[in-house]
């Protein structure tokens, strides 16, 4: 084998221009792949660190989503185009879920979470027209639209201790107090031309039409100043439940008591309004119009309805947990899901990535598109390499034929060509990696920040940073080697078809 490698090296040196063309293709290809994936890795790591530390914990438990939907801590993502914004349902069987968590090894801490989306304003009526005002140039991240989070008293702040309060205090238990992200304060000024300070009263409104008053008691900075995450507001669970529509009605909808009369829900619209005479005589019926007592009681007894519309004090959408070993998340998630399934519970455990899929999914999607483009590029590159090698084989017909004539077996020729391919690819790939590292070191040293809010959200943070890993490097080298061997298959096959007689007649 030593002499084959020596001969391969000599041939590569002899055919300098071809070697250089192929080497440059591989070098730049490898550099692009390593840099691209290192950037995506950095984004992923940033997201992981950020979300594990501040939002999702190491794992989250929610109800099992309906078909065609997914649930993460930012809401329900639906593939159905209905225009509705579905709310995250409350966990049923919460007590049993907590028992199972307590029985599961490796879970260090847990808390419960409610999430919803709200917009903040100081005016009695929120003028949404301002959001379309071109002069203001308001980006989506500038809006005072925020994720509203509420955690279980005490345990929640212990679960996410990195929140940096820069002014004020945490909300008091049972109050309508909120603490807001510095970005919310900035967005508030930009959108409404009004300042937002500790002690201010604000209106919070949800897309579902829920409006509540709240008092700002604190302003905090996100744990990660380059966080890709939407700006957030924290409040007490009672307030958050209103926006999350965690009412008794919603809680019971999955398990209604027998005392509730459901016969009305079986009636159609025509049953209610199909009769033309339904309101026909009302105008003339003094007995109806003249009696306010009858009008008030037209809907009958609404006590149950009022009770059902109250927020359910025991409702939670998520249980979040931190683990002794964060890397054991997949194993523990699988273990929990197995238990939930065995006991028939409407619950799913998910790792941080799934629990923050609105963000991690975007990054994954970008990674997929990037690698798809790279695959297409690689195919083109390998076709060029194949053509170059075919030309090389044609030029070396005489040499190959001579070798065969003086006793070289086909496998010798095969080994020689593959050795050339492997040596060239390995050396070029190494050069590509060195080149990529130099570029990445330079980029990283500049700490380039992304300012565009959408790019910031899509790219998972505000810092252009590269985090190469051994996995990226080894995978890239292996892919380059495999691609090189595949693209050499046809040229080698052509070389093996060369008979000594063909080689000699070529002279």
């Amino acid at each position: 084998m030593k002499h084959i490698i020596k001969l391969a090296l000599r041939n590569l040196k002899e055919h300098k221009s071809k070697t250089l063309i192929i080497a440059l293709f591989i070098l730049f290809g490898v550099a692009i792949v390593v840099m691209g994936n290192s950037f995506l890795e950095s984004v992923n790591r940033g997201l992981e660190k950020d979300f594990r530390a501040n939002v999702t914990g190491d794992l989250a438990i929610s109800v099992i989503p309906e078909k065609g939907t997914t649930i993460d801590v930012f809401g329900v993502n639906s593939t159905n185009i209905t225009g509705e914004v579905p709310q995250i349902p409350a966990l049923t069987d919460l007590e049993r879920i907590e028992e199972i968590i307590a029985e599961t090894d490796g879970i260090k801490q847990k808390s419960k979470l409610i999430s919803a989306q709200v917009i903040l304003s100081k005016d009695a009526e929120i003028d949404f027209a301002v959001l379309q005002d071109d002069d203001k140039d308001i980006g989506i991240m500038d809006l005072p639209i925020s994720m509203l989070f509420a955690g279980e008293d005490g345990s929640f702040w212990k679960l996410f201790p990195d929140l940096k309060m820069i002014e004020g205090r945490y909300p008091e238990v049972g109050s309508n107090e909120i603490i807001v992200d510095t970005r919310v304060v900035e967005g508030f000024v930009k959108t409404w031309d009004k300042t937002l300070e500790v002690g201010d009263d604000v209106l919070m409104a949800s897309m579902g039409g829920v409006i509540r008053e709240a008092k700002v008691v604190g302003i905090f900075k996100p744990a990660n100043e380059y966080s890709a995450m939407f700006q957030s507001v924290y409040c007490e669970p009672g307030l958050a439940r209103s926006f999350a529509e965690l009412t008794y009605a919603n809680s019971f909808s999955q398990d209604l008591p027998d005392t509730v009369d459901l016969s009305i829900s079986e009636l159609s619209e025509d049953d209610f309004f199909g009769d033309d005479d339904l309101f026909g005589d009302i105008a003339d019926d003094d007995s109806i119009l003249g009696s306010t007592a009858d009008f008030d009681s037209i809907l009958g007894d609404t006590t149950l309805r009022n009770q059902l519309n109250q927020t359910d004090d025991g409702a939670w959408q998520f249980v979040l947990a931190k683990l002794n070993n964060p890397h054991a998340d997949k194993k523990i998630v699988a273990e929990l899901n197995k238990r939930f399934k065995e006991e028939g519970l409407n619950a799913q455990a998910m790792d941080w990535k799934k629990a923050a899929y609105s963000y991690s999914g975007t990054v994954e999607g970008i990674g997929f598109i990037f690698n798809l483009l790279i695959i297409i590029l690689a195919i083109v590159v390998f076709i060029i390499i194949m053509n170059t090698m075919v030309v090389s084989v044609i030029e070396r017909t005489s040499e190959i034929g001579t070798m065969r004539a003086i006793g070289a077996e086909k496998k010798f020729v095969k080994k020689l060509f593959y050795s050339e391919a492997v040596i060239l690819t390995s050396l070029s790939a190494l050069a590509g990696i060195v080149f990529a590292f130099i570029c990445m070191i330079i980029f990283n040293s500049f700490n380039i920040a992304i300012t565009n809010s959408i790019a910031k959200m899509i790219l998972g943070g505000g810092l252009l940073h590269f985090s190469p890993t051994p996995k990226i490097i080894i995978t890239t080298i292996l892919v380059a080697l495999i691609g090189s061997i595949i693209s050499n298959r046809y040229p080698v096959k052509s070389a093996l078809r060369i008979t000594p007689i063909k080689a000699l007649s070529k002279e």
Partner: protein, 283 residues
């Protein structure tokens, strides 16, 4: 004792829809230590015969024995030559305008056998020298020794040499062909005559009993031709080597030096002549 034996060897070549018979039932033996020539005018089939002896071209029928090995014993030569590996629009079996599959490489098992025999039993000297361009003189001579394979037919006496013995043997051959001072030079740094000397040393390095030379002086001037032929003759006479040389040539001066000449015309042997060869290449 015959080192090469041909019996009723035929060779057909496709030419459009026709088959041309280039070699028509040739039979002759070459004995050990002979300085032999297959001679004839251009197109007589002498190079085809030499290529078949050298196992770089397949006969269409007949028997070729190299040493004590009947090379194509048990081989269906018609099948080996024509059976299918890929589509081709050309070939002897093209009929009725339909594309036929034709073999473009001989069967793997047969290929291994003849490759091994080429290494152990035959040395080649080509008219275009055919050195490996990226290797220097020493490495070119050494090259056949690096092609050792597991096939028993591939075994050369030199394979049992130690590394030092091999080095000594290669240096001996380089000295014998007068290129000691040039042994670190690459092929493109040598003259035609020097390249042919390297080819001779390379042909001898496995101690192959038979050296085949196809028009060895075709690309050399008279002086170089004389030196090369004298060198070959001396190697032929060397009692340690006792190498058999077989030339394909129409150069009468080479024919004069040979002690066995097979005269070919139109693919047939017209005279199998044994005579006393001269030791001198007459310029």
């Amino acid at each position: 004792m015959a080192v090469v034996s041909l019996k009723d060897v035929h060779k057909f070549y496709p030419l459009g829809k026709e088959r041309i018979e280039a070699v028509r039932g040739v039979s002759f033996d070459i004995e050990k230590g002979e300085f032999a020539a297959v001679s004839g005018p251009s197109g007589s089939g002498k190079s085809t015969i030499l290529n078949m002896i050298g196992l770089i071209d397949l006969p269409s029928s007949g028997s070729i024995v190299i040493g004590d090995t009947d090379v194509y014993d048990g081989v269906d030569l018609a099948d080996a030559e024509t059976v299918n590996t890929r589509w081709s629009s050309a070939g002897p079996d093209k009929k009725d305008g339909k594309r036929k599959k034709v073999r473009i490489a001989i069967p793997a098992k047969l290929d291994r056998r003849i490759t091994a025999l080429r290494r152990s039993h035959l040395g080649f000297i080509f008219q275009t020298f055919n050195l490996i361009p990226v290797l220097n003189v020493y490495e070119n001579v050494e090259f056949p020794l690096l092609l050792e394979s597991k096939d028993k037919n591939s075994k050369s006496p030199v394979d049992d040499f130690s590394k030092a013995e091999k080095e000594e043997w290669i240096n001996y051959l380089i000295e014998k062909v007068g290129l000691t001072d040039w042994k670190n030079h690459k092929a493109n740094e040598l003259s035609g005559g020097q390249r042919q000397r390297v080819a001779i040393a390379r042909a001898l390095v496995t101690k192959a009993p038979v050296i085949l030379a196809d028009e060895p002086t075709a690309n050399l001037d008279s002086k170089n031709s004389e030196q090369i032929l004298s060198l070959m003759k001396s190697l032929n006479k060397d009692p340690d080597l006792q190498t058999t040389f077989i030339f394909s040539t129409h150069d009468s001066r080479i024919v004069d030096m040979c002690d066995h000449v097979v005269h070919i015309l139109d693919g047939q042997v017209i005279n199998d002549e044994h005579k006393a060869g001269s030791d001198v290449y007459k310029i």
